[in-house]
Amino acid sequence: MADYHAIVIGGGHNGLVCAAYLARAGRKVLVLERRERVGGAAVTEEVFPGFRFSVFSYVVSLLRPEIIRDLDLPRHGLHILPLESTITPLANSDYLAQWNDHDQNRRELARHSLRDAEAYDEFGLMLHQMARAVKPLLAMAPPDPTSLSFGELMGMKRLAEHFRSLGPRRFNTLTKLLTMSSADFLDEWFETEALKATKSASGIIGTLLGPRSPGTAYVLLHHYMGELDGVFRAWGFAKGGNGSVSAAIASAAKAAGAEIRCNSPVERILVSYGRARGVVLENGEEIKAKRVISGADPRRTFMQLVGEKHLPAPFVESIRRFRFRGASAKVNLALGELPDFTCLPGRGPHLRGAISISPSIDYLERAYDEAKYGEISTRPYLDIVIPSLIDPGMAPPGKHVMSIFVQYAPYHLNGGWSDARREALGDTVVDTLSQYAPNLKNAILHRQVVTPADIERIVGLTEGNIFQGELSLQQMFFLRPVPAWAKYRTPLAGLYQCGAGTHPGGGVMGASGRNAALQILGTA
C-alpha cells in the first residue's frame, strides 16, 4: 500500500513548486529534504551573528510569473525589491553604468559611445522580442523529436508552427542567438568593451565556457528572460534573502496540504519489478508512494539514488555524458562599512544595484583560459550586490552584507579543493575587488567562501554546477538531460524528475518543478 501519491526528493525551490502544484490538485504529497531547512540553493542563513546571507543564489528574476500567481506567493510572504542599476568599474577610475531609467541610461552610454547609445534601444527591443519568442517554450514539456508517436509528432509540428509564426527575421535572429558566441553577437551591436563584457558575462554564468565560445549567446538570453510583475528583465532581491522565496513556496505547498520533512536524507529509491515504489531514508525508514519525483540532479538521481542496474545501458551512458563542470563560487562578506569605489566615491545610488567586475571581453577570456586548464582565475569575473542597503534587516544597524558571485573557480581544480585553496580563492576575490574599492579589506568583519566543492557537499549539486548541469546547447530543451527523456519522465516507471537538470534549467525559475507537476497531473 502506498503511503503517498507522490514523494518529492529534495526541498529545493523546484521540488517545492512541484509539490505545491500536486497538493493543490488534491494529491497527498511528501517532500523529503536532507538538510535542516528547505530551499536547496535558495536559502538565507545567518552565517555570522546578525549577518544574514543568501548563501548561494542571491537574486530573483527568472521565477516564472505564472508560479507567483498560481501559488499566490506574495500572500505567503514573497516580496521582491527591484535592483536599479549595474555598475562596471574600469581600470582608469572611470565606470560604465546601466540604469533602469531609460534616459539616464542613454546619457551614460552616450558618454562612452554615441553609437552604442543609439543601438541600445534597438538591441533592447530585439532581445525583448527574442525573450517573448522563447517564453512559451519555458512552460512546455519539450516534444521528443526522435519519436514517431502521434502526440510527439504533433508536438514537433506545433513547435515548428511557433517558430514559423515569428517570421523569418525573428526566427533567424533566434537561430543566431542559439548558435553564436555572446562576444560575436554583441560585437554586431556595440563597441564599448565594458558594455560588451558586462552583457556577455551573463552568457557564461554557470558554464565552463568563455564569452567567445559559440553557445554562450543563448545563455545570455536565458538570463535576459527575467520578468518581475510582467516587466521584462527586471532583477530584484527577495526581502529576507532568497530563502524567503523558498519559504513562500513551502508555505504555499503546506497550505495546499503537502507535508514537508526536513533532516530526512534519502538513501535510495525503492525499485521493484521495474517500478519506483518509494524511498528508503538513511535512517532505514521506508516510505512508499505511487510516484517518486526527484528534485536532485540527474547524476545523483540515477547513478546514486536509483542505481545503474535498474536502468537501460544507453540511458546510463547518456547520464554519464551529461556535463556538470561547476565553475562558479560565492564569497559572502560581512562589512563594517560600505565599499568606497574609486570611480564613484561615497555612498550613492550605484551601491544599491549590481556591481560587475567585467572591464573587457579579453578580461573574461583570460579568466576562462586559466579555468579551462584547472586553475582559479587570477582576475575573476565578479557580480556583486549589497542586499543590506535595500533590505536593512539583513545586517546589524550600520553594517552590511555583500554577496559576490565568482567565476571561474573550476570544480576540477588541479590538486583538488582544500581549505588553503578555498582561502586563496577568497583572497583572490578580495584583492580583485580592492583594486576598485581600496577600503574593502579594512571593512571586512567576516568572510565566507563557498567553492564548487562546497556547493556539492552542502546543497548536493553535482560538481557544484548551479544549474544542475551545464546550460549548453547540447544539453538544452529536448536534450535536457537526455534525448527522449526530456519530459520529466524516466525509463523507470513511477520515477519523475523535477529539478533544474530538466528543461528549461536553472536560475530559481521554478519552471522545471511546475512543468513536471503538470505532466504528472496530465494537464500540460
Binding site: F163, N172, L209, Q474
Partner: protein, 452 residues
C-alpha cells in the same frame, strides 16, 4: 542579350558556368589567375549532371600519421581493421570504440552529404524533418547533440589517447578561430568527414578543377573584374581591369559575398541593413601555409602535429589574444616528389609571422630525419589573400561556424544564391554548402538561376 559572366575560376564558378552554357547561355568566366588546388569532396550529383568522368580522388594511405610522445607513430589507415590494430598499440580501450565511433559519425556524414547536395534546407519544413528522421532514433539524437558541441567533449566521450583526440580535434577547428573546447566545433569534424569512407576524417584532394577546366563551351578570360555595373536595381555588366566593359544581364560571382556586394557593386544599391549584416560576416583567416621541397622522402605522406586537445587549445589561446601560436598545429602532406605543404594554425590574419618558418621546420625536422628542406616559402594569411583571393586569408570566404552554415550561409537573406540586385547571383565557398565541398554551391546556384 544572352551573355552570362561568371567571376572567379574555382570549381563552383566553373560548375555554374558549365550548367549555364549547357542551358544555352554564352558564358564568359573571368578569373584573376589560375585558381589553386581545390580540396574536398565532389558530390556525385555534380559529376552526374556535368557528365564528368575520370575523377581521381587522391588520398594518402595512411591518411594521417601522428607522432607519439614515446617515439613511433600512430598511423590511421583507410582500412578499418588496420587502424584498429594501430590504435590498439596506443590504447586498447580506444581501439575497441573506434569502429562504433566511425559508424556513428559516418551515418551523420551521409545525412550531411544529402543536405549538401541540395540548396539550403528550410529547417521548419516537414520535408527536412522527415529526412532527419530517417537517421533513426539514435542517429537523430546524435545529430542534435553533436552539432552544437565542442569537439573536445565529443572526443572525451569516446576516447582516452591524447594523440588520437588531438588529430581528430584538429579537424574540428581547421580554418576556424575557435579552439576544440568551443561550441560548434564537433560539427566541423563531421563537415570534414563528408564524402569520406568511415574512419577517414580528412577530405580527399582531387583533379576536379583540372577536369572542369578542360570542358568546352565556356570562354575563360584571365583578368580581373573591377566593378559590377548596376542600373535601376539590375545588373548591366562588368568593368574589367584592362578597361574593357562587358555587358551582361546575368553575373554570377564566386568571389566572397562581402567583396561582391560591398566593393564590386557600387554602394547605394544595397539596403543598409543588409550591408551592415554583410560587414559582420566573419571571415578571419587563421592558417598559414609553408611550402618546401625535401631532397629525400621524409618517411611520411601525411603527418599531423597535435599531441593533445590541450595543445590545440593553447595554440588557440595565443590566437585569441592576437598572437601567432607559439606551438602551432601542423599538418604536413608530402607527394612522391617530396614536395611538402604544411598547414599552420593558428597564424591570425594581419599578425607578423617572423620566425614562424624556422619554428615549423624545427618542429617538423624531428620527424623528417635527415632530409634537407629547400625552396622554403611561407604564405601567411595576408599573402594567401593576395595570391589566392581569399578574404583575410580565409579559404572558406566565410567562416564555417554553425551560425554561418546551412540556411544561414553566409546570411539568411543571401542563402539562396540570389542577391537583391536583379541578375546578380552568388556561388563559391561562402555559399551553402561551400567550404571545401567542390562544385555543389555552383550547381545549386545554377539551378536557382535556371529555375530548376
Amino acid at each position: 542579350m544572352n551573355r552570362a559572366i561568371v567571376i572567379g575560376g574555382g570549381s563552383d564558378a566553373l560548375v555554374a558556368a558549365q550548367l549555364l552554357a549547357r542551358a544555352g547561355r554564352e558564358v564568359m568566366v573571368i578569373e584573376r589567375r589560375g585558381a589553386s588546388l581545390d580540396e574536398g569532396w565532389v558530390p556525385p550529383k555534380v559529376l552526374r549532371e556535368l557528365k564528368i568522368e575520370g575523377l581521381e580522388p587522391e588520398r594518402p594511405d595512411p591518411w594521417l600519421a601522428l607522432p607519439l610522445p614515446g617515439g613511433g607513430r600512430l598511423e590511421l589507415w583507410r582500412d578499418m581493421a588496420r587502424t584498429v590494430d594501430a590504435i590498439r598499440r596506443v590504447s586498447p580501450h580506444d581501439a575497441e570504440r573506434w569502429p562504433e565511433f566511425c559508424e556513428r559519425m559516418a551515418r551523420l556524414a551521409r545525412f550531411l552529404e544529402a543536405v549538401y547536395a541540395a540548396p539550403p534546407p528550410d529547417p521548419l519544413s516537414p520535408g527536412f524533418a522527415l529526412r532527419a528522421r530517417r537517421l533513426g532514433r539514435r542517429g537523430l539524437a546524435d545529430l542534435l547533440r553533436i552539432l552544437p558541441m565542442p569537439v573536445a567533449e565529443l572526443l572525451d566521450d569516446w576516447f582516452e589517447a591524447d594523440a588520437l583526440k588531438g588529430a581528430l580535434g584538429a579537424a574540428g577547428v581547421l580554418h576556424l578561430l575557435q579552439g576544440p573546447r568551443s561550441g560548434g566545433t564537433a560539427f566541423r569534424l563531421l563537415h570534414h568527414h563528408v564524402g569520406s569512407p568511415p574512419g577517414v576524417f580528412r577530405p580527399a584532394r582531387s583533379n576536379v578543377l583540372e577536369l572542369l577546366r578542360k570542358l568546352p563551351r565556356v570562354e575563360l578570360q584571365n583578368t580581373e573584374v573591377l566593378r559590377i555595373s548596376v542600373s535601376g536595381g539590375a545588373v548591366t555588366g562588368v568593368v574589367l581591369k584592362d578597361g574593357r566593359e562587358l555587358a551582361a544581364l546575368l553575373v554570377v560571382s564566386s568571389v566572397d559575398p562581402r567583396r561582391t556586394l560591398l566593393d564590386l557593386v557600387e554602394p547605394g544599391w544595397l539596403d543598409p541593413e543588409l550591408a551592415r549584416a554583410l560587414r559582420h560576416v566573419r571571415r578571419r583567416g587563421v592558417a598559414a601555409r609553408l611550402r618546401l621541397e625535401l631532397d629525400r622522402s621524409p618517411g611520411f605522406t601525411s603527418l599531423a602535429l597535435a599531441p593533445s586537445l590541450d595543445y590545440l587549445e593553447r595554440a588557440y589561446d595565443d590566437a585569441k589574444h592576437g598572437r601567432v601560436s607559439r606551438e602551432p598545429y601542423l599538418e604536413a602532406t608530402c607527394d612522391e616528389r617530396h614536395r611538402m605543404e604544411v598547414l599552420v594554425q593558428y597564424a591570425p590574419y594581419g599578425v607578423e609571422c617572423r620566425g614562424l618558418s624556422e619554428r615549423i621546420q624545427a618542429l617538423l625536422g624531428e620527424h623528417w630525419g635527415d632530409a634537407q628542406p629547400q625552396h622554403v616559402e611561407l604564405l601567411a594569411p595576408r599573402e594567401l589573400e593576395e595570391f589566392e583571393g581569399w578574404p583575410e586569408g580565409q579559404p572558406h570566404h566565410a567562416e564555417l561556424s554553425l551560425d554561418q552554415a546551412l540556411w544561414m550561409r553566409p546570411l539568411p537573406e543571401l542563402a539562396h544564391y540570389r542577391t537583391p540586385i536583379q541578375g546578380l547571383w552568388l556561388c563559391g565557398p561562402a555559399m551553402h554548402p561551400g567550404a571545401g565541398i567542390a562544385g555543389a554551391a555552383g550547381l545549386n546556384c545554377a539551378h536557382a538561376i535556371l529555375g530548376r
